[in-house]
């Protein structure tokens, strides 16, 4: 009996490794994506904007053009590399600006009384009720297309959702007893927000940022595909998809490459976001 009833403790840490698998894959994909974009500033296989009729529609596997060329003879790899740059500029730009605006608005709504909360929350509701694509199309039509317009459209699109997330995260922190303690010691709202609330919602902010980064890349590709996003000499994966449409009857891989790039990068960022959520959640951490 002595030996049977005393089971040895099973090897530990298995569960945590499983959780972190998504983080590892996400980090690898995201870093690869960033590296490609950075390299594009220093080195490109050829100029992605200069047509070369002689080399048009080369198949994948051709020497010097490993993924082939498009209908105007421009190298696909070079275009994908410059496209990564655009995706980061627009996706990260839109996500960063909306993160900043959303955090400020969310914190004000959570901490500065009922009137501020009602105004900001209802304002966010109204903005969310307008379809984002329509907003972006209208903006592009009135302001002209381009990377800046796209970032602006993304900001208008994402800020209300950010505001809501930050507001509810901040509200749950503000209900904690350590906030009451800080108030009892005479700490002001700004101090409480900066020293107590923001560190406690930083995890939420980071996770949301990666997810909106991915959503920004998707939206930008969509707008550029519709022809209201970025324009040459900038290159976007969405734009490449649009152009590939004209030659899809001749060569389908042309549409596949930018599509694949979008899928991999968006997947990578989402995995990164999920993985970070598990690691940054203090409740999960406490159990380990």
């Amino acid at each position: 009996m002595n030996t049977t009833t005393a089971p040895t403790i099973a090897p530990r840490r298995r569960r945590r490794l499983e959780l972190n698998a998504s983080l590892v894959v996400g980090v690898v994909l995201t870093i690869g994506f960033l590296v490609i974009a950075i390299v594009s500033f220093f080195w490109l296989p050829s100029n992605p904007n200069i047509p070369n009729i002689k080399n048009r529609m080369l198949p994948p596997g051709t020497v010097d053009h490993w993924l082939g060329t498009d209908g105007l003879g421009r190298d696909i790899i070079a275009q994908l590399m410059v496209g990564a740059r655009t995706s980061i500029l627009v996706g990260a730009g839109g996500a960063t600006i909306s993160l900043i605006l959303g955090t400020v608005a969310g914190l004000v709504a959570a901490a500065y009384g009922k009137i501020a909360d009602e105004t900001i929350s209802r304002g966010a509701d109204i903005m969310l009720s307008i379809p984002g694509m329509v907003t972006a199309l209208v903006l592009a039509a009135t302001m002209g297309s381009g990377a800046l317009t796209t970032i602006f459209a993304l900001t208008a699109f994402f800020t209300p959702s950010f505001t809501r997330v930050i507001r509810s995260a901040a509200m749950s922190v503000l209900q904690e007893d350590f906030i009451t303690s800080a108030k009892l010691y005479g700490r002001g709202k700004l101090f409480i927000l900066a020293r107590h609330v923001i560190p406690n919602i930083a995890g939420v902010m980071i996770v949301q940022f990666t997810l909106y980064f991915a959503a920004g890349i998707l939206t930008e590709a969509g707008l550029s595909y519709l022809g209201v996003g970025v324009t040459r000499p900038s290159i976007s994966w969405g734009m490449m998809l649009n152009e590939a449409q004209q030659t899809v009857g001749i060569s389908s891989p042309l549409a596949m490459w930018p599509g694949l790039a979008i899928v991999i990068v968006v997947l990578g960022l989402n995995l990164l976001g999920d993985g970070l959520r598990d690691v940054l959640d203090p409740k999960l951490k406490r159990r380990s």
Binding site: D177, F178, A182, G186, F191, N200
Partner: protein, 279 residues
């Protein structure tokens, strides 16, 4: 109550509320109907003398949470006064309010929630000194207080999630002691703790009152826990103080209906073994 006052009357109260009332407006039942009013506190008189340990008991909804909020200065009373050392906390001027904030400290029920999970324990302990702008050798003060609550100094570099509930409650008590308070208000300080840890924390509070000459206001729903820690107990029901007395007298001869209910609710191992606990 009895003619002989069981506690000394010569000492002046340190923390006192006089004729305190508070009314909350509830949500409208109909669109244009007036908001119904709820009287959560009704003409409360309550006081603690220097070095005295006082209990406050009542069921949930009796108003003891609201009274606690008044005593700690979180909420401003609608009617009546909150006095510290004889002067009104809300109208006595900024200097007096600062003295009040420094001298009356609170320990809350859930130690997990009362310490910022992202702040090192050392930083949390210094918070009261920094925000109240108290001068002096902060590092020495931290070590002194850690010793008083029975914690090791390697706790300072760690984060709250590395501690058990009982240790966290010691840290919360340490933080309350940092500014050198005269009154400690403990709101259900052991009800979130394990049984074997509760006794440790109750003993610690008792020692602090004795060794540091602190006044203690102990708020709880369990009469036996309050009775163990305090020498005078206020019983609250429906926003009123319905009975005041020594814990033993309240136990033996409860007068008010609310007190009788609370005494009747106390379960003990002895009664259980004798088979009449649920009678």
């Amino acid at each position: 109550m009895s003619a002989v006052t069981p506690f000394p009357t010569d000492a002046r109260p340190l923390l006192e509320v006089r004729q305190l009332s508070q009314v909350y407006s509830l949500n409208r039942q109909k669109l244009f109907a007036p908001r119904p009013k709820l009287k959560v506190l009704d003409s409360i008189d309550f006081s603690v003398r220097p070095g005295e340990a006082v209990g406050l008991v009542g069921e949930s909804g009796s108003g003891k949470t609201t009274l606690t909020r008044m005593l700690t200065g979180v909420e401003r009373p609608g009617e009546g006064q909150v006095l510290y050392d004889g002067a009104d906390v809300w109208t006595g001027g900024e200097a007096h309010r600062k003295l009040f904030r420094r001298s009356v400290q609170v320990v809350l029920q859930n130690p997990r929630s009362s310490l910022d999970p992202r702040m090192r324990v050392g930083t949390s302990l210094l918070e009261p000194l920094r925000s109240l702008k108290i001068e002096g050798d902060h590092a020495a003060r931290v070590l002194e207080v850690l010793d008083q609550v029975g914690l090791d100094k390697n706790a300072l570099e760690r984060f709250p999630h590395e501690f058990s509930g009982g240790q966290l409650q010691r840290i919360a008590i340490a933080r309350a002691l940092m500014p050198g308070p005269k009154v400690l208000i403990a709101d259900e300080p052991v009800s979130a703790l394990d049984v074997s840890i509760q006794a440790q924390v109750l003993n610690l509070l008792k020692d602090l009152v004795r060794d540091l000459g602190l006044s203690l206001v102990f708020i709880a729903h369990d009469l036996s826990v309050v009775a163990y820690t305090t020498s005078k107990v206020y019983v609250m029901s429906s926003g009123k103080i319905v009975e005041v007395g020594k814990p033993l007298d309240l136990f033996r001869t409860p007068q008010a209906e609310a007190t009788q209910a609370l005494v009747g609710a106390v379960l003990s191992v002895e009664a259980g073994l004798a088979g009449n606990a649920l009678a």
